[in-house]
């Protein structure tokens, strides 16, 4: 038996029956172990493939005599199958199996078998929360003083609130109900005391708000900044696997959730616990029977409250969802109003809106009814303690063992004690929601930078020689997009990369820009491995003009300067003039100060590309990358832009991708990619003479343009 390369678990057989099987792949063959065993020799296998169905995935091989199934699984097996296929294809290409090929990243928590949060290895249930809270506390360093202060004030307010009923009692018992008339001055003093305490509570409240705001703003800055910085530092592949919306949520929503928790919930928690404990002590010290009577219904109150929310919570959830559907529908109809009118569908849309609206209303009415019935019941339960108290205290007053003032004081305390209980019954929910946010934020923070700088990464000035050696690379899916690509590009050369869509042209460029690292092989610039060059040093010397140019919200000037913020006006104008921006910029009423981007002046596609070229010119890169830079433009505009590009290309190592082959007429060499490998290299004339792939591409395009010519004729 040869060496085992990898082991793959699977859970479905070819008749859709659930099974627990395993595939063991050895260097000489594949062993499939389910109810029976099967052996497939390695010889003759051309490719491993992960065939992704709609509810299941399959690992297959192709051989000369046809395809063959190895194993099937449910969709949760997908990452394993595709990783396995990728590893095996690399093996077939001659790579040496790594030690880590045996293991696959698990998608479920080994402890509770629940799936991890998407794209992470964090189980929402089993992660240790204490550790996260401690780390969070560390992050809150700068605002800790204010947090302490607000907690202190919370406690002080709670304490003063406890004093008030006592003062009331003194007022009633010693003065109002006193046997002999008290001195007016003493009476006034008592009233003043009450006034003073009330005032102190209010003043402390103001101070507390101040402390909270201070703590909050300081905290939120850190909380937003840290994940944002981290996201900016992550590689493109890590960032692009999450949606923009999700990333924005992590930076904004999750961090404000945490902020809220720290600034109000932590203080609130301490205040409520303090109130509860001290009230309990006061009551017990005074009369333990009284205290028991008050506290007896407490568990009942908490329970009924929790039950109520367990029942109502999901219903309100549904109401919230119906509400957001209503909003979405409205948004949808308004933004598509031209289509609605064009097809005369106004009536139908009104009906659609009506349906969604009605549904939301129905849910809302049901919920309000539930609430209206349930909440008086729980409120009554909460008040039950007071009835007991009234009976007990009433007896005592009749016996003469308790004064009217004391009764008032205790009534107030009893009323006060249920507040914290209600508050605390919500605490687990709040804590859970915060923990989810905390986990999500730390998930980003803990993400490993996969395209990180090596420790001894150097800053170096690039001459522009690019060596690509045996590079293989694939994204998440099983297929290798690039297979053993080798290519050398000399300084100052312009190389055009052509091929059908999906052959790996953009991937190759992404690797040169080091958006990703190759899995096999290496890319060297002037003899130094890309991974040994500091990324900011590398990027500062590579410029790119892409198919779609993104303009940030800002002025035209700022957008050109993006690559070199400290550029002088003269430099900007020179670049703009060369790129052909100047000619239209000076026609705009606000010139270079014209606001462009999302909410600004709309530039045409050609103008945008010119801005991109100006950006690249100003950047003055040693290596220039043109990825379909003129593809979205009409032929006329393209010709103009080509001239601008020509000025940019002069003297720089340039790598250009273009579908329109005419765009590459100035290239010193053309590289034809096919199925992830270099198929042909040479000048236009050489390749045409060879009558290979390039020739076919040229002919196909010529036919297209001839057809249009014929149409015109």
């Amino acid at each position: 038996m040869e060496k085992c390369i990898t082991r793959i678990p699977f859970n479905l057989d070819s008749d859709n029956n659930p099974v627990q099987g395993q595939v063991e792949i050895y260097t000489d063959g594949v062993r499939i172990i389910a109810k029976e065993e099967q052996w497939i020799p390695m010889e003759g296998i051309q490719e491993f493939r992960c065939d992704v169905g709609v509810g299941s995935v399959a690992l297959e091989i192709s051989r000369k005599e046809g395809d063959c199934l190895i194993c099937r699984g449910t969709m949760d097996q997908r990452t394993i199958f595709s990783a396995a296929a990728k590893r095996m294809n690399r093996f077939l290409d001659g790579a040496v199996p790594g030690e880590d090929w045996m293991e696959y990243k698990k998608a479920v928590c080994p402890k509770c078998h629940r799936p991890y949060l998407p794209d992470s290895e964090i189980c929402p249930k089993c992660t240790k929360k204490g550790g996260y809270l401690r780390r969070l506390w560390k992050m809150a360093k700068s605002s800790r003083g204010y947090i302490y202060l607000s907690v202190l004030i919370f406690v002080a307010v709670a304490a003063l609130n406890l004093v008030l009923p006592y003062l009331n009692r003194v007022l009633v018992d010693d003065y109002i109900k006193a046997d002999r008339l008290p001195a007016v001055s003493q009476y006034v003093l008592a009233v003043l005391m009450i006034l003073l305490v009330t005032l102190a509570v209010r003043l402390l409240g103001i101070l507390r708000n101040f402390a909270q705001v201070r703590a909050g703003t300081k905290l939120i800055v850190t909380l937003r900044q840290t994940p944002f910085q981290k996201i900016e530092a992550l590689s493109l592949s890590k960032v692009s696997k999450r949606t923009t919306g999700e990333l924005m949520n992590r930076v904004t929503r999750d961090s404000s959730q945490i902020q809220d928790f720290f600034t109000s919930d932590v203080g609130g928690l301490i205040e409520q616990v303090f109130t509860l404990v001290s009230l309990g002590i006061i009551l017990f010290v005074y009369d333990w029977r009284l205290a028991l009577m008050v506290l007896l219904p407490a568990p009942l109150v908490m329970l009924s409250h929790r039950l109520m929310w367990r029942y109502l919570g999901p219903r309100y959830n549904k109401q919230w969802w119906c509400g957001s559907r209503l909003f979405e529908t409205l948004y949808d109809i308004f933004s598509g109003i031209r289509v609605v009118k064009a097809f005369g569908m106004e009536k139908k849309e009104v009906e659609r809106y009506d349906r969604v609206n009605r549904r939301e209303t129905t849910v809302r009415i049901t919920n309000e009814t539930y609430f209206a019935v349930i909440s008086p019941v729980t409120n009554f339960l909460m008040g039950v303690g007071e009835f007991f108290l009234l009976y007990y205290v009433g007896n005592q007053i009749l016996d003469g063992t308790m004064t009217l003032g004391a009764m008032q004081q205790f009534s107030a305390y009893v009323a006060m004690i249920y507040g914290p209980l209600r508050w605390l019954s919500f605490m687990p929910r709040r804590l859970a929601r915060t923990m989810t946010s905390v986990v999500r934020v730390f998930d980003v923070l803990d993400e490993k930078e996969d395209v990180a700088d090596r420790e001894n990464a150097v800053h170096k000035t690039i001459a522009g020689n690019i060596q690509i050696e045996n590079v293989s690379f694939g994204y998440e899916d099983s297929k290798n997009v690039l297979r053993k690509v080798s290519l050398e590009i000399k300084p100052g050369e312009m190389v055009g990369i052509v091929g059908r869509s999906g052959v790996g042209k953009s991937t190759l460029i992404n690797l040169i820009m080091r958006m990703y690292d190759p899995e096999e092989g290496a890319i060297r610039i002037d003899g130094t491995d890309l991974r040994d060059i500091a990324q900011n040093s590398l990027r500062s010397q590579i410029g790119a003009v892409l198919q779609e140019t993104f303009l940030f919200t800002g002025t035209l000037f700022q957008n050109i300067c993006y690559s070199k913020p400290d550029a002088a006006y003269d430099e900007v104008i020179t670049a703009a003039k060369l790129a052909g921006v100047h000619s239209f910029a000076v026609k705009l009423p606000d010139g270079y100060n014209t606001l462009v981007g999302e909410r600004g002046h709309t530039l045409s596609g050609g103008e945008r590309q010119r801005v991109a070229i100006a950006r690249a010119l100003l950047h003055n890169p040693k290596i220039l990358i043109l990825d379909e830079a003129t593809a979205s433009l009409d032929t006329e505009t393209e010709k103009d832009i080509q001239d601008a590009l020509q000025k940019l290309i002069a003297g720089r190592t340039t790598i250009a991708i273009a579908h329109r082959l005419s765009t590459l007429r100035n290239a010193t060499r053309l590289v034809v990619l096919d199925k992830g490998s270099v198929a042909e290299v040479g000048t236009h004339d050489e390749l045409v003479a060879r009558k290979g792939l390039y020739y076919e591409l040229v002919m196909a395009q010529r036919q297209m343009s001839k057809m249009t010519e014929d149409d015109i004729a």
Binding site: L69, P115, K125
Partner: protein, 188 residues
């Protein structure tokens, strides 16, 4: 003049189906077979010169055009590069042996256990955790956004999509027991 133009428009509307060149496959022009456990097809094609040619596909891939509404109709037959070879209007256009081959392949690709009972359904952290009984035995899965992960088709058929992209189906809400129904009701 005017009438002539009108006629032309009518003609062009009638010709839409021809222009689209949808190639329907049925028992008269297509032979379905099973090879290595995968379906394949031999398709007879009438060429421009009137002669017939047989196109041989050692393996075909099937794709439902309307996976929720019409699981056995309008099946796109594709090659390895996901290019359409032809369209099956209905599986009933084939004899039962061929239809069974196609049905088997569809069942594999669109693996969808039928949920018969919802044992428990808990929501936490924005996820919902399901424990169900199905024709594939007891299953446990997690939905990421419960409301958006349920799709109601027709009156009482529910499709459930879990966070991995697995699909489950409740064929009829009416057939669920009361407890199961109450558990899922809040999300419909």
């Amino acid at each position: 003049m005017e009438t002539k133009e009108n006629i032309q428009t009518v003609e062009s509307v009638c010709n839409l189906a021809d222009v689209a060149e949808v190639r329907y496959l049925h028992r008269d022009n297509t032979e379905i077979f099973l090879k290595n456990g995968f379906p394949g097809a031999n398709i007879k094609i009438r060429q421009e010169d009137g002669t017939e040619k047989t196109e041989e596909h050692a393996r075909i891939w099937l794709h439902r055009s309307f996976p929720f509404d019409l699981p056995e109709e309008y099946i796109s037959v594709q090659n390895k590069d996901q290019e359409e070879i032809g369209l099956i209007r209905s599986l009933t256009d084939f004899d039962s042996a061929s239809a069974d081959i196609l049905r088997g392949e569809l069942a594999r690709k669109y693996y969808t256990p039928r949920i018969t009972k919802i044992v428990s359904l808990k929501e936490a952290h924005g996820y919902s955790f399901w424990n169900v009984e199905s024709d594939a035995g007891k299953l446990q899965f997690t939905l990421q956004d419960t409301f958006r992960s349920l799709l109601r088709v027709g009156e009482d058929k529910i499709f459930v999509f879990d966070n991995y992209g697995n699909r489950y189906v409740i064929e009829s809400l009416k057939d669920l027991d009361r407890r199961s129904l109450r558990r899922i009701e809040l999300y419909l």
